[in-house]
Structure formats: structure tokens, C-alpha cells
């Protein structure tokens, strides 16, 4: 994956148009890795919300992950310089059996928890037992991702073995999930809820304090198992809810970075104000806005009507315009554009309904479909959206205009988020804004939204198609990437043709940060690469 690094802006160049990014340098990750790190310093970063709890096995928000992740190690993790390549964290090596049913991990020796005890395979087993087979009353948010696991064993202190029920293409990558920090077995045995309110990991930073609603502090783990790491003396996460206050915090140097991302306007403001002191990393984000149509309500029970709505959307034109004012930028199908392994190429994409670059032809087809469905003069419906401007309301307003082009009138109802979520979940809508953000590019995760609603709790369209469920299972168990890609393409074609839920435009991850922050490479997800192990501060 390549990330765009923008440095050295002059004030005047930025004033003409920061969007031109004329001084952008495309730097290879390897070149960044070659920089000479410096030890010391405290990294301050802004987080838009604060963690409700500390147990990442059950939390689902970046707000928990950003301050908590630096305290923990994973079994394996994504290599930030070579994403999606995986590297060992507490595991020093691993081996997969020929039948793909047994994964054996060798655990590094000498890793210590922050309380001084030694990490062994027993801790890894206890951690994954909690995630995959949680005891009564213990919440595990991503348990379903490990449905293929039969058992986890720790035959000795340095070996962990996962036995699978079937070979699963996504299994190894799922073990690199940032949501799976390794906990201490003895603590879990005494109280499986202990980690909800306490921290004791083997990560690069030791927990110091969490002042509720204010900030979170970690200090360097002097016993960290990787010699010479972390570089930082510590970190301080500051919880700043208001977007403009977050931007101001970076501008004023109170925070050096915000890991989730800023809007293009905020990026341009910072570049204008701070010039070469700011570096911008940008790349397509693993988040997409989708439209879910309630297939149990007329006229959305008719595939032709649904497809017409998707055909009316000029995604390519929208990308060019919306990316100027929002984080909406990349055009893609159901997999993140740019993820070569499984995403449709542009050539494949333009063949799919709603993705043609000839918008006039698409809209002509849309009108024809509406006429066939009995709506020659269009129809009116209510489109529900959440009350968050960037990017939800921006997209909502734009979509309404797109649908107007084929004679369909949408009444944009913007709801407070709690009420919106309730209506979306209960099916109290005709059409609704929907979205997906995942921690890694993986068909098992991205395709799940489009599986029958009886199987997928995040398919809000109430649509069932056994063929799609079958394809989902098939791709999930196909370990040959080429064969899997073919199935994913077939799945995608059905989804976009039946258009019960369809992607609009993918997000662009924009991370402006102080140039003195080094060793953090932007990955497509704001859930990844948060342990701060390699981060260091320059002059």
C-alpha cells in the first residue's frame, strides 16, 4: 500500500490551493523505515471520544482502541510498512498444516507482563478462549469471526495450537486483529471481567492514569521484549470531542496527531498555518457509506426500483466534487478500492450496475426500470440519515440530488444518532444511510453486510438471498486467492444488481500530523497500527 506524504508546503503555495498538493512526495514505506529513530519524548494525540471500557475483546470503538492498544501485544500483527503482510508480535513464528486445519505458533521467550510475570502460551490460550468461547456473562464482540475454531491448545509454555473445523482463508489475518490483546491467564481465571476496568499487558507502554473525560497517560515499558523499543518515554491521549477543537489542538501543538482523520478543510487549514511543520498522510480509508433500502416496504421490494436508485448515482462525478469538501473520495464496489487482492479493478467496476462512467446511459436505464416497475413519473420516499455532517449529511444531500435526476423525490430526514440507530436496527425506515468500517481488507468482513439479514445483524435491508449466503461461505473457505477472488466478484455482481444495499463512495483517510512525529505509517484502517511501538519524535 502506498501512502501520500505531503511536506514542505509554503504558506503561499498552500494559500493558492492546498488541494493541489504540489509538493507532495510519494515515499516508499521502506524509505520511511530507513529514518534514524531518536529515543525520548512524549507523544500527545487527540482522540474524538473516550473509551467506555478497557477490554478490547468486547469494545467496538476506536475510542477504546487508541489509548488502550499501546499497553498490549497481539499474537501477530499487520506490518505497518508492508500492509497487509503479517508479522509476529508475541509469536516469533508460525506454521500452518497442509490441510489448513492446524495453526501452530511459537511464542517468544522472556516476554513480561507489566506486573512482572512472564507471558506463556497459557496466556495466549486463555485470551483466545475468552474471545472465541466466552464464559457465561462475558461479552465478546467478534466471537463470530472465529466460528471456524474447534479448539485452542497450549501443549507447552512456548507453543499455541489452533485447531480449525474447516480451512478458513481469513483465519490468520483475523488473529492479527488489533482487538485481540493478550491478557494474563491467571487474572482471567480469577475474574474474566477484570480487564474491563484494569490494564495489564505486555505492550510497549505501561498504564499510568485515565482521568475520565479528560486524558489517558502511558509511560515507556522498560521491560518491553523488543530491545530498544519503544522510542517514546510515554504518550498522552487527550479526549477532545469537538472537531474544531481537535484541529485547533493540533494547530496549537497541544496534540501532535489525531489518528482517525481530518477533513480536507482541516488539512488545508493546518497546512496553511503550519507549513512544513505539518506532514499529511492520505490514502483510501476502509470505510464506506452505503444506502440500505427496506425490501419489506414498497416500492423497494422490487429489484428494478432498487437498481434504478443505484444507477442514478454518478459515483465518479461525485468523487471528483465531494472530495473537495469532504472525506468522500474513492469509487469502489463492496471491497475497498486499491486493495489489489480482492477489490474490483476499475475495468471490472465500470461493468457493474451503478458504476458506469457514462452516467447519462445509466440514468436512462434507471428511468426505463422505473417505468417497467410502474413508476414512469418517479415516486417519493423518506431517506433517513444521522445528524453528523461529515460525511453523512453531505452524502445525504448529494444523493437526493442524484435521485432527483431520475424523477425520484427523497425527503431527507436527519435524525439524532441514537434515534437513527434504533430506526435502522428495527427496520423503521424506507431508505437509510448505512456504513461500514473494518479493521482490515478481508472479504469475510466486507461481504458480511450483504449476507441475508437472517444471518447478518448488519444487513439492515431485511433482504434474504440463499445464493449469496452460499457464496459467502464458499469464498470464506476457499484458500486459493485466485479462486476466492472469482467468487468475490460473483458475489459483488449479485449484490450490485439486486441493490438492496449498495455502496456509494468510500472515504479518504487524511492524517495531518506534526512533521516531528516519525515511525507511524498510515494504514487503511484507523483501528490498525496503534501500539506506538515504532513511533519517535524528531526535532
Amino acid at each position: 500500500m502506498k501512502s501520500r506524504m505531503i511536506t514542505g508546503f509554503t504558506r503561499s503555495a498552500a494559500a493558492v490551493s492546498a488541494g493541489l498538493l504540489v509538493l507532495a512526495l510519494v515515499m516508499a514505506p521502506a524509505a520511511m523505515a530507513a529514518e534514524q529513530p531518536k529515543a525520548g519524548g512524549i507523544l500527545t494525540f487527540a482522540v474524538a471520544a473516550e473509551p467506555p471500557g478497557y477490554d478490547l475483546h468486547q469494545e467496538t470503538s476506536f475510542a477504546a482502541l487508541h489509548p488502550v492498544a499501546p499497553h498490549y501485544s497481539l499474537l501477530i500483527k499487520f506490518n505497518q510498512w508492508k500492509y497487509p503482510e503479517i508479522e509476529g508480535d508475541v509469536a516469533e513464528s508460525w506454521d500452518v498444516s497442509k490441510d489448513g486445519l492446524t495453526y501452530t505458533f511459537k511464542i517468544r521467550k522472556g516476554i513480561k507482563f507489566h506486573d512482572g510475570s512472564v507471558l506463556t502460551a497459557k496466556d495466549v490460550k486463555a485470551t483466545y478462549d475468552k474471545i472465541i468461547f466466552p464464559p457465561e456473562g462475558v461479552r465478546s464482540a467478534r466471537k463470530a469471526s472465529y466460528a471456524m475454531v474447534k479448539s485452542v491448545e497450549a501443549p507447552d509454555d512456548q507453543t499455541v495450537v489452533f485447531h480449525l473445523k474447516w480451512p478458513a482463508a481469513s483465519f490468520l489475518a483475523n488473529l492479527a486483529s488489533p482487538w485481540n490483546p493478550i491478557y494474563k491467564a491467571d487474572i482471567l481465571a480469577k475474574d474474566p471481567h477484570w480487564y474491563e476496568k484494569h490494564i495489564n499487558g505486555t505492550g510497549p507502554f505501561v498504564f499510568v492514569e485515565h482521568v475520565k473525560g479528560s486524558h489517558w497517560v502511558g509511560k515507556k515499558n522498560e521491560n518491553y521484549f523488543m530491545k530498544g523499543r519503544p522510542y517514546l518515554d510515554g504518550f498522552r491521549a487527550i479526549f477532545i470531542r469537538d472537531t474544531s477543537a481537535r484541529v485547533a489542538s493540533v494547530r496549537g501543538g497541544r496534540a501532535l496527531i489525531e489518528f482517525r482523520g481530518f477533513s480536507p478543510a482541516a488539512r488545508d487549514d493546518l497546512v496553511r498555518a503550519l507549513g512544513p511543520q505539518i506532514t499529511v498522510q492520505e490514502s483510501p480509508w476502509l470505510c464506506v457509506l452505503t444506502v440500505a433500502l427496506n425490501t419489506q416496504k414498497k416500492p423497494f421490494d422490487d429489484e428494478r426500483v432498487r437498481r434504478a436508485l443505484s444507477l442514478a448515482i454518478d459515483r465518479w462525478g461525485g468523487s471528483a466534487h465531494l472530495s473537495q469538501i469532504s472525506i468522500l473520495k474513492a469509487v469502489g464496489g463492496i471491497m475497498r478500492p486499491g486493495y489489489d487482492a480482492y477489490a474490483a479493478t476499475e475495468e471490472e467496476l465500470v461493468q457493474l450496475p451503478g458504476f458506469s462512467k457514462n452516467i447519462d446511459a445509466s440514468r436512462k436505464e434507471a428511468r426505463k426500470l422505473l417505468k417497467e416497475a410502474g413508476y414512469p413519473n418517479g415516486f417519493a420516499f423518506t431517506f433517513k440519515n444521522r445528524d453528523v455532517k461529515e460525511p453523512y449529511e453531505i452524502m445525504g444531500v448529494w444523493l437526493i440530488d442524484q435521485w432527483r435526476q431520475i424523477g425520484v423525490t427523497a425527503n431527507h430526514v436527519v435524525q439524532e444518532t441514537a434515534a437513527f440507530s434504533k430506526d435502522r436496527k428495527s427496520g423503521n425506515f424506507e431508505a437509510t444511510m448505512d456504513w461500514a468500517c473494518d479493521f482490515m481488507d478481508e472479504p469475510d468482513l466486507q461481504l458480511f453486510k450483504y449476507v441475508s439479514s437472517s444471518k447478518s445483524p448488519i444487513d439492515y435491508s431485511k433482504y434474504d438471498n440463499p445464493k449469496l449466503d452460499e457464496l459467502y461461505e464458499k469464498q470464506s473457505r476457499t484458500t486459493d486467492p485466485k479462486a476466492r477472488r472469482k467468487i468475490v466478484r460473483e458475489f459483488e455482481k449479485i449484490v450490485l444488481t439486486e441493490a438492496y444495499t449498495f455502496p456509494t463512495i468510500w472515504w479518504q483517510k487524511i492524517n495531518p500530523h506534526w512533521t516531528k512525529v516519525h515511525g507511524w505509517h498510515q494504514l487503511p484502517s484507523h483501528y490498525l497500527n496503534q501500539d506506538l511501538r515504532d513511533v519517535w519524535l524528531g526535532a
Binding site: 467506555p52 471500557g53 482521568v211 485547533a248 440507530s421 447478518s456
Partner: protein, 317 residues
């Protein structure tokens, strides 16, 4: 006087009870579910089973009447329960923010009082002169300018002209007074300005009214020193409505500084309030409403006592 205080104090109980019932009902009427917000907002495919399990843990699956009875029984024992969002005791979460909110409210009140009373009296004494006009313009500008907007201007000014931003997290005064004041002085000024504008206008009009009273004319006719006339005779009577305004504004500041807290990233009660409502954190919202209600009632109670102290007609009436 004692009877008067006891009577006013006892009236607080049914008022607080009414507030408690009202907030409980309103929170249940507003659609939304804390469990869905916590687990599904970022698109994670969390099973319905887990959501149901979590609702049961929070007691949301129980009949509303039972939930109300449990909550009321807690209040009677001064136990406000745990926040449904963080699982921490509500009283701890509130106590943490209360010191910041109280400090800002006190600082803003001191600023507003020191500014508004002299300015209001001066404007009244110099009615229709350039001094009066200048004070009126100053106070009308304060009324017209929302505090949060002034806060944004202050932040931008500090950033653009001094390349400096106030600290983004709270340090208690006794830990580091300089750090504490460099964070809180700005919101106190932003809020205090509007606050002082209201009080200045009130002081001016109240003074103008009193200065025309017969007893003031009599005092002057007796040959009393002008300062004595103003302080002892006019101001003591003119101050009553100003006290009401200052008191109510103070109570409002304790829990109502929502946007200003956002602008300055203050970890105060206002932010906690809005976040709790947005998250449908019933226990936290209910406790906060009761607390803010209690503050208002207490301030009103104090105002009533002060009225009685300033004006004997009230306590003997």
C-alpha cells in the same frame, strides 16, 4: 425568619421529586438504545444475542415501573447507581467534573459581578451621557455575542497572534495553579462577559428606578454625602433583582456550559450532560438532571434568604 427558612427548605423536596419523575419519563419516551450505540455504531457485526445480554445486564429488559422503583430507592439512599456507559459510579463521574464546572462558574461570577455592578451604577448615574452610551454598547455587545462564539474568537486570537493554545485537559488548582488558570481563565472570560452584560443592564435599570424614589430624594435633601446615598440607600434596594440574575446565571453555568465546554475542551458537567443524553445513559442523565435541579433550587433558596436579609418586608410579610 427561621420559620421562613424551614418552609422554603421543605418546598425543595416535592420540587426535586417532580424533577426526578419528569426526567425518568422523558428519557424513556425519547427513542434510542444505549446498547446499540455502544456496540453497533461503528459498523461492527455484533450479534443480537450479545445486545440482548447487555440490555439484561443493564436492567433495560425489566418493566419501566420496576426500573423507576429501583432508581427511586437508590435516590432515597443517596445511591445514584452506575453509569450505563462506563459502568463507573455516577457520583464519581459527576464529582470529577463538578470541580471544574464550579470553578468556571465561580470565576465567571466573580468577573461578572466585579464588572457589572460598578458599570451598571455608573451608567445609571451618568444617564444619557457618553459614559452611559459606551457602557450600553459594551453590554449590548455582550448580550448579542454568544459565549461560545467569543470563545472561538479567543482561541483563534491566541492561535493566530500568539501561536499558543490553552491546555486541553484539566489540572486542579492545587496541583498546578498556573496550568489551571491558563486553561480556565479564557472560558471564564468568555462566559463572564455575557453574564456581566445581563447583570449590567439589570443594575442600570434597577438603579435608575431607585434613584427616582422619594427616599433617595429625601436622603439627598437631608444633605447626605452622595456616595452614602448611592451605597446605603439606592444600591441596597436596587441590588435585589441583580442578585436574582447573578444567582440564576450561576446555577445555569454549573451544568449549562455545553458549547463553551466543547470549544475549550473542558471536562465539565455540561459536556457530560450532553454526552449522557446522546448515549441514552439513563442513570447518568437522571442523576445530572436531579443535580442541576437541586443546584437551581438551592440557589433560589439562597436568593430568597438574601432577599429576606436585604428587604425586611419579605421576612415579616
Amino acid at each position: 425568619m427561621q420559620r421562613y427558612i424551614i418552609k422554603r427548605f421543605l418546598l425543595m423536596i416535592p420540587t426535586l421529586l417532580g424533577v426526578a419523575v419528569l426526567v425518568f419519563v422523558l428519557m424513556r419516551v425519547v427513542p434510542g438504545d444505549i446498547v446499540e450505540l455502544r456496540y453497533t455504531l461503528e459498523g461492527t457485526a455484533v450479534s443480537d444475542e450479545l445486545l440482548a445480554q447487555e440490555r439484561a445486564r443493564l436492567g433495560l429488559d425489566k418493566p419501566v415501573v420496576e426500573q423507576f422503583a429501583t432508581w427511586m430507592w437508590g435516590i432515597v439512599r443517596f445511591d445514584f447507581g452506575k453509569s450505563m456507559w462506563t459502568d463507573n459510579p455516577v457520583k464519581d463521574e459527576i464529582a470529577l467534573r463538578l470541580q471544574l464546572s464550579l470553578q468556571v462558574a465561580i470565576m465567571a461570577t466573580i468577573f461578572a459581578t466585579l464588572l457589572s455592578i460598578p458599570l451598571g451604577i455608573l451608567a445609571a448615574l451618568k444617564q444619557d451621557t457618553w459614559v452611559d452610551y459606551a457602557i450600553r454598547v459594551f453590554s449590548i455587545a455582550g448580550l448579542a455575542m454568544p459565549s461560545f462564539w467569543l470563545g472561538i474568537l479567543i482561541i483563534l486570537g491566541l492561535l493566530i497572534f500568539f501561536r499558543w493554545l490553552p491546555p486541553m485537559f484539566y489540572t486542579p488548582f492545587w496541583v498546578n495553579p498556573w496550568e489551571n488558570m491558563s486553561q480556565l481563565i479564557w472560558p471564564a472570560l468568555a462566559v463572564g462577559y455575557r453574564y456581566s452584560a445581563v447583570a449590567t443592564r439589570m443594575t442600570r435599570s434597577s438603579m435608575l428606578e431607585v434613584l427616582r424614589e422619594d427616599y433617595v430624594r429625601t436622603a439627598r435633601a437631608k444633605g447626605l454625602w452622595e456616595n452614602m446615598v448611592i451605597v446605603r440607600h439606592a444600591m441596597k434596594n436596587a441590588i435585589l433583582p441583580v442578585i436574582t440574575v447573578l444567582g440564576l446565571e450561576f446555577a445555569f453555568l454549573v451544568g449549562g456550559l455545553v458549547v463553551t465546554e466543547q470549544v475549550f475542551n473542558l471536562n465539565g458537567l455540561g459536556m457530560l450532560f450532553v454526552e449522557s443524553v446522546a448515549r441514552r445513559d439513563y442513570t447518568m442523565t437522571q442523576a445530572l438532571v436531579v443535580l442541576v435541579g437541586f443546584t437551581f433550587i438551592l440557589v433560589n433558596f439562597a436568593i430568597d434568604i438574601m432577599y429576606a436579609w436585604f428587604d425586611p418586608r419579605i421576612r415579616y410579610g
